[in-house]
Symmetry: C2
DNA sequence: TATTGTTATACTCTATAACTATA
DNA sequence: TATAGTTATAGAGTATAACAATA
């Protein structure tokens, strides 16, 4: 017998967000499996491609992780030959770039993820998808989340 | 200098879902911190309260985790005196119930989470929140996610 | 002093695989 | 055979705290 989700959960936007996000993430993970990367790593690759020469700390901020965690991700992408560290704007920083292999593979990954994304929301009309994306963008980019904000994720 | 999110990311509903979900989850985590539980554990508590006597495997399915992972969560909730295992419908199964302390604490947790949830979507009108919840529900409960589905999370 | 990268360490959450005891 | 619980183990992802080099 299946479990009931009562009103206390269903009324929470955060609960629905989590469930929808998890479902889409699993779809994406499956689609990216042949490439051996997670959805988060694909995001990192796209950010590096679109911000060539960025440093690890900035990348981490964009991914909502701290620079130590960002380093780990970059290490993995570098080991796989997708990303390289070049000398940065000063002697402390690395400039991140995709390798040519990284650029090539990323193209195929994006094809796969676009297909998977469409499947994740295949029950919505094209207009509804637009509405959803716009509402989500407002929630995600809401600056004041009340409460004392001190650090950006934590560091 | 901040990092640019190009169109390749912004056009993906899954990307926006993940960002909005993460933001709301962090809000929830902060709100629940005084209670020492994560958002996922709150979900487990509500599901147990609303499905008294359910077993661990069913709980896991509702949480999209397998029975081994469900066990770990129940162990923690039991250690904290919020949940108890009683004899189940047959000798293999446990019947999960909230303790009286669990019921009491859950009430306060729900107050906190409702407030946090409202803050997470405070830039949306009440109507927009309803639209968002409805759209998310359809994405989350979409049954056919194409591709060969065999196991429910994995087991 | 502040910042970047780095390392070591630990924690949370999840999964897999195997075992047991039931059914 | 199939199912529920359990255990041991491993992996991914993140965090904290320190340190060195540089600004």
């Amino acid at each position: 017998m299946p479990i009931k989700q009562g009103r206390d959960l269903l009324q929470l936007v955060g609960y629905q967000l989590q469930r929808a996000s998890l479902a889409a993430e699993q779809d994406a993970r499956r689609a990216l499996q042949p490439f051996g990367v997670s959805p988060a790593k694909l995001t990192a690759l796209v950010l590096i491609r679109d911000n060539p020469g960025c440093d690890q700390t900035a990348l981490g901020r964009a991914l909502s992780i701290n620079r130590s965690s960002a380093m780990r991700q970059v290490n993995i992408l570098e080991e796989r030959g997708l990303v390289e560290r070049r000398p940065g704007r000063d002697a402390r920083t690395n400039a991140l770039h995709l390798t040519s292999e990284g650029e090539q593979r990323l193209g195929a990954m994006l094809d796969a993820i676009r297909e998977s994304d469409a499947l994740s929301v295949s029950t919505l009309t094209s207009e509804e998808r637009g509405v959803l994306r716009a509402l989500l963008e407002r929630v995600a980019s809401q600056k004041d989340r009340s409460r004392p904000r001190k650090r950006t994720p934590a560091d």
